[in-house]
């Protein structure tokens, strides 16, 4: 290599800086959305609970024989005509008994009180599972969507790796340095670095395990064909024998797994399978006991205990956080928020830097980038909040509730992105940031009011914990959004005298 060539090659830090900026920006536009919905998915069961305000109080534990008989009757009724049926057992997070089945690609449930066995009529809702599905498929299908999310997660790993290299010198000295009063872009950089560096183990873990969970789609040559447990009767062609009484099966399984460690029951033409709950330990082991469907006799315990299987279960469980008790779940939630902050501040800094260095100040790509950044950073949380609002505003007995709730996310997200692009093309993108952050704070801060107003008739005798937690979190996030809008408004007012007030000029001032 000649000396001239060596000089023309940018330094390692510059190369990594370019990689960090461009891969981070392009992947970050969608990773922001994945982080928002993933953070919500940490409390997916609780969000579903919030979205079904009729849910009565119930004590978790092994359901009564009467409740199990009624659930078994519902299972029998659905068998033969539906694809998959399983019976979710009560847990601390969800105290009801659910017979869940697939109806034209939509999960539907019949709900039973675990003690009395009475049917609990709950409104149909997209629930927390909707955010969970979006988180790992972007609603683009379980093959293409998952692979796209995996590619983005690999982009995140590249961004994290390059970020560590470019910040290596200042990594430890500036570990907890946050200087919000300094001149811009220092506060943005500090927020970005704090969110990324302090939560670096979480970020690496979540991106890596996220790809690994569905690695058989990313590397299809490692996919294993699953045995068809249902046999020939899977699509209803086989006449399944009547179910044995479920209460003795559960009592037997409880002796092996523990009474509070029973997850769900699966049914096949020959067996009834009781699966261990995912909250037993970090690894999602899916240990299960098979029982003969005709006699109810125990066939055996199936457990994968090889070191590799345990590692796989451990890494999957670490990502899913199903093992986590409430305090740890909050840590996951806060770490998810940090991921959002990291990407949001990263996108903003990218735009600031491009604005400063661009030869043409108002080029079309720049305006599109500014519009898309706003449409995802604030548009996605707004759209998610919109789903919660729609859930409570729609009539409870509307037949197409699930579809309308789900569509709300995409319609709102699209509308907000169009709004953001409009503001960017009109060179008033900062106004767009202020408008969307103000709207977000309004919707979040008023969510408790909406909750109380639409839950009033069931409120007596309900356990308020979940509702209070969702409402309080909403208010806290709303106040943060309000603070953001106030800060942005103040800075915009200070720079209105500047000609051609652009995003960077407004935000840098």
């Amino acid at each position: 290599m000649t000396a001239t060539h060596k000089q023309s090659v940018p330094s390692l830090r510059m190369r990594m800086g370019w990689l960090h900026a461009w891969v981070g920006f392009i992947a970050g536009l969608l990773l922001v959305c994945i982080f928002v919905t993933g953070t919500m998915s940490v409390f997916d069961t609780e969000i579903t609970h919030w979205m079904q305000p009729e849910t009565p109080s119930a004590q978790p534990g092994i359901p009564s024989a009467e409740a199990l008989d009624r659930a078994a009757a519902a299972v029998t009724e659905q068998e033969g005509k539906k694809n998959r049926i399983f019976l979710s057992l009560p847990s601390d997070r969800d105290p009801l008994l659910h017979v869940t089945y697939m109806d034209h690609d939509v999960f539907r449930s019949e709900n039973f009180h675990p003690q009395t066995g009475q049917t609990v009529p709950l409104r149909e809702t997209a629930g927390g599972l909707f955010f969970f599905s979006f988180h790992y498929t972007l609603y683009m299908g379980r093959m293409f969507g998952v692979i796209l999310v995996q590619v983005l997660a690999v982009g995140m790993l590249v961004t994290l790796g390059s970020g560590v290299i470019i910040h290596l010198k200042a990594l430890l000295p500036n570990l907890v340095a946050f200087r919000p009063q300094s001149s811009s872009p220092r506060p943005w950089i500090d927020a970005h670095v704090i969110a990324a560096v302090l939560f670096l183990p979480f970020m690496f873990m979540i991106a890596y395990t996220g790809v690994l969970i569905h690695a058989n789609r990313f590397f299809p040559n490692t996919a294993i064909e699953r045995p068809n447990r249902d046999g020939p009767g899977r699509n209803g062609h086989h006449h399944a024998s009547p179910l044995p009484p479920l209460a003795p099966l559960l009592a037997d399984a409880a002796e092996t797994f523990g009474a509070d460690r029973l997850g769900f029951i699966q049914f096949s033409p020959k067996t009834v399978t009781v699966v261990r709950a995912d909250n037993s330990r970090i690894g999602i082991s899916r240990d299960h006991i098979d029982y003969d469907r005709t006699t109810g006799e125990r066939i055996g315990l199936v457990s994968k205990n090889s070191p590799a299987a345990r590692t796989s279960q451990f890494l999957g469980g670490l990502h899913m956080a199903r093992w986590a008790p409430v305090p740890v779940r909050w840590f996951y939630f806060i770490s998810g928020c940090a991921g959002y902050v990291m990407f949001a501040t990263g996108l903003v800094m990218f735009l600031i830097k491009r604005r400063r260095t661009a030869t043409q100040k108002n080029s079309l790509p720049m305006e599109i980038a500014e519009g898309l950044a706003l449409g995802t950073v604030l548009g996605m949380p707004l759209a998610c909040t919109g789903v919660l609002w729609m859930n409570r505003l729609l009539p409870a007995d509307l037949p197409s509730r699930v579809t309308v709730e789900g569509s709300t996310l995409f319609v709102l997200w699209g509308a907000l992105t169009v709004h953001a692009l409009g503001r960017a093309f009109g060179r008033r993108v900062m106004k767009g940031w202020i408008e969307q952050s103000s709207l977000l704070s309004l919707l979040l801060c008023l969510l408790p009011v909406l909750d109380l107003a639409t839950r009033w008739k069931w409120i007596a005798g309900q356990d308020q914990t979940v509702y209070a937690a969702v409402d309080l979190t909403s208010v806290v996030l709303g106040l943060i959004a309000l603070r953001l809008s106030v800060v942005l408004r103040r800075r915009t007012n200070a720079t209105t005298s500047l000609p051609e007030a652009s995003f960077s000029k407004e935000i840098v001032s």
Partner: protein, 92 residues
């Protein structure tokens, strides 16, 4: 920092090589391991998922392309060495 003639081709080369590198690990590692297929596939996935971003970073991070390719091969070998003990011990 604009799109220079250096960065974009290098990123394209790195991206085009990264996935095949992972695929090679995912394909050949299971053949080296004497363990049940699901387990060997998992160990291969553990290595392959690390290899993809590591290859991009390595090829992009080195000054010369040849050096990058050699370093990427070293990274793949190192990854396999790290991934194998994971299968042997695992969290107990």
């Amino acid at each position: 920092m604009a799109f220079s003639s250096y960065y974009l081709p290098r990123l394209l080369i790195a991206s085009l090589l990264a996935y095949p590198a992972g695929l090679v690990v995912a394909t050949f590692l299971p053949h080296l391991l004497h363990m049940p297929r699901p387990d060997s596939f998992f160990v291969a996935q553990v290595g392959a998922v690390i290899v993809v971003p590591a290859t991009v970073l390595t090829i992009f991070g080195t000054r010369s392309l040849l050096g990058g390719l050699l370093a990427a091969v070293a990274v793949i070998a190192a990854t396999m060495l790290i991934a194998l003990p994971l299968a042997a011990f695992g969290p107990q």
